[in-house]
């Protein structure tokens, strides 16, 4: 269902994983999530808003994250997302899927002698 956007340089499904992982540290708004991912990946991953917000709303529609309006530290109303119980479970699933994939990719790139 993900609209194939040319802006989305990330591997399909990865953005979802990154968002879920980020929210483990606590509720955050969209801008903060994007900033976090960019910071932690040391600017390697820049999340386009055209991908971020559809992804957030999609995850919310699936019930993996929930949203509520709160006042940000700068005193403005912002939409904060937090992990739900199913989201937490989904994170485990996604994480292990990613690890399997990355192991597999590594094997292909560095075949055992």
């Amino acid at each position: 269902m993900t609209p194939a956007s040319p802006r989305n340089q990330l591997l399909y499904g990865t953005l979802d994983l990154l968002i879920l992982r980020t929210l483990v540290y606590g509720p955050a708004h969209g801008h903060a999530i994007a900033g976090h991912i960019q910071r932690v990946s040391e600017d390697a991953l820049r999340i386009e808003t055209g991908s971020l917000y559809p992804a957030l709303h999609r995850l919310e529609a699936r019930g993996w994250i929930a949203a509520e309006w709160k006042t940000s530290d700068k005193g403005k109303r912002a939409r904060y997302y937090r992990l739900t119980r199913t989201g937490r479970r989904q994170l485990v699933v996604e994480q292990s899927r990613w690890q399997q994939l990355s192991v597999a990719v590594t094997r292909v790139l560095q075949p055992a002698e």
Binding site: P3, S5, R7, H29, G30, H31, A32, G35, E48, T49, G50, Y53, P54, A55, L56, H57, R58, E60, A61, R62, G63, W69, S72, K74, K76, R77, A78, R79
Partner: protein
Amino acid sequence: MLRLLYNRLRSIWSRRRRDAELDEELRFHLAAETEEGIDAGLAPEQARAEAQRDFGNVLLTRELTREAWGWAPVERFLKDIGSAFRMMRRNTGYTCAVVLTMALGIGLNAPMFEMLSRLFLQAPPRIEDPKGVHRVWLSERDDSDDRGVFTGPETAWDRMQWPEFSALADNNALTGAVAGYTPPRFMPNGRGQNAENLSVSWVTGEFLDLLGVEPTMGRLIGPEDDDAAAVPVAVVSDGYQRERFASPQEALGATLEFDDVTYVVVGVLPPGFSGPDPDRTDVWLPLEPAVTAVRGDRWRNFGSGFYLTPLARLPRGLTLQAAGAAATAAVRAARADSPSGGSQDPEATVVLGSILRTRGPASPPGEIRLALVVGGVTLLVLLIATVNMSNLLLVRVAARRRELAVRYALGAGRWGVGRLLAIESLVLAAVSGAVALAVAAVAGRILRLTLLPGHQGAVDALNVTAVGFTGIAVLAVGLGATVAPAVYAAKSRRVERLDSSRGARALGTPVRTGLIVMQAALSLVLLSGTAVFYRSFEAARQVDVGYAKENLITVDLAGFRRTGPLDETTINALGARLRSLPEVVDVAQGTNSPMWGQAAMPGPRVEGLDRLPFNEGPYVSLATPNFFRVAGLAILEGRGFSEWDRAETQRVAVVDTTFARGVWPGRSAVGRCLFFGDASTDCTTVVGVVESALDRGLLDADQAAVYYLPIPQVSPNTIQASFVNNMRTLIVRTRGNPGRVVQPTLLALADLFPDLPRDNVRSLETVFASRIRTWTIGTGLFGAAALLAVLLAAIGLYAVIAFGVRQRELEFGIRRALGARASRLLRMVLARGFWLAAGGVVGGALAALWAGRFVEPLLFDGRTPRDPLAFTVAALVLLAIAVMASYLPARRAARADPRRALEAE
């Protein structure tokens, strides 16, 4: 999963709020980004610009996010429907044209389809496992030359005589598998003019059980009721019970009286059940008491004239072939065993067919063939309606090229536009469908009452089949009509440029032209059909039946039961009373009800002939002296009867021309002798020859030989005397409208013959009208369909030509500017309409030549459907209408103003 659904639903409901929230969320992101930039030391404007750049397309992000909510398709759909309705409101004329077209097309077809499906496809209702019930047909050859050699054409009948039926029922292989009934016919319940006429079927004791019908109240007729000694019982239909009794309980125990036998109602059958035939049936009676009451005991013999229709439900393990073979053997044995059975084909075979009579083996009767042809006609109308709608849509699409081009430019896909068109035509179709249901309800009633008035449900409202048909037809037509426009729209995407709206003018024109030609062709088929039927109608209407049928009423004293002889004093009193009416010219008496009933008896002998050279007849008609004058039969030779032909004078007879020509070809009949009785040598002298009358058919070949004898000369205790007693008819010649005499006649009858049922007073014109009914109905229905078709074709043609003219307005303007005369432009456009219709004429003529075979058996006196005159008239009408439809656009072309056209560019 549920949560997902809930979220989606909630998001649809709270759409506005969510939109506002999304905007706020995105604004917050932008603000946060800008602040970050400012924190990093950028100037506020620069920071905002940077943030905007990073953010990218806000609108797109919003759209993509909204898609993630999951209700985009629903929203699109609602939007398309809204746009379809807006389109309909904006184009009222176009919408009305399409809706009317479709509503008529579908509304006429729904009841026709329902009617034909009931005749040919659906098993009669309320019968258990109807596929297992078989109609038993007897296929036999005719003894064409009466010499005991059966070489005539083979005909199948779904009826047999009692000895044959009982041989079937007694056959070991078929034990318990056979039952019989008589198809329903109208009989008066009780006596007199207030007796209600009920549709009655006589059934054997096994019949209702064999069909597996369950009574809603009481019980069925069983084998114990089908016995002369049993108390006569009856079961009634649900419809009759509702009409006549307050509750089913009240029906039980009520009594009915047919032919002086009183029947006690013991059961009520379920709604819809009408036995194995589509004809409405009110009452079922056990065969034995019912037949005996009418025919005495003779009905069990061959040649009694009593027939019943057998049905069979085969026991497990018996194949159709084996059952047919057993039945054939049983019938042949019954015929061989009986001396009088020998006058029938000994090689007759029994065939087990479907329970639906129309499935054969015998071809369906004329009225059902007519219904089939009418079904074909309404289907043509639907086809024309679809083509018309397609064409109108196409013109609309062509006119909307700019709009569609804008939609494409804004990113609508080919599917998007196709979907929009499909939804537009589906919405149109749905609105039409609603109107169609109303049309179907009204037209259905009219069609059913016209074509098959006696059938079960002829007056019912719409039923499931008709509504279902409407639904499916709406979908099919709605989508079917979209194909051409959608293809065209898709094409225009490739070719169309916003800036050159004229470049692709030719696109779609061949399709539009083709559709118009097709419509014209279908219209021609209907027009020529109308003409062909009208020719039959006129020919039949002008048939000379011999009788002067205008202003003639017959009062039939034959059709009711009497004990004892007819009272001559009462008859004379009736005659005198009728004669005293101011509208009545004269009253005569006879034994033949003109154009209704005839009596035959062993014919007279004539000198020099072993037997009379007639296949049937001669019929005898006993008459008073004024009979010929009142009936309007001309005496061609000699004289008629006179007051002086009495019992004691010379016996006289009058013969008709058919009789005279057959017996004394080329010689005069007057003065010859007829001899009655085996050894009698008393000469009955032929004193006159009267013109032949058509008592049955309408063709010359239907003229049967008749001889007339004066009533005063009939000797007591002869067959003639019994005819005079049992078959007496009064014929009444009136001045002006005979309808005015009917009511006083009925009043007189109520006084003098209180037991006589009321339908025995008939005007001869009514009888004649029922005889030419096929052609009256055929002409009427074909005519109505053709009118509709031509109207649709005219609308379609007008739309296409007008569109073409609008497209070429500039060209016409330039032509005008360059000196072309208005009349020349007018002719140019008219010619286009004319040639389109001419193409239709050619195609339609070919189609009509082919379709003629379906109509041929329905035409009068072997008239051909390939009638050059009919085709010519149809073609002229179509061409004239085409030119008329093109006239308005043509005038517009002729008045084209180059300046205005240029300004419009």
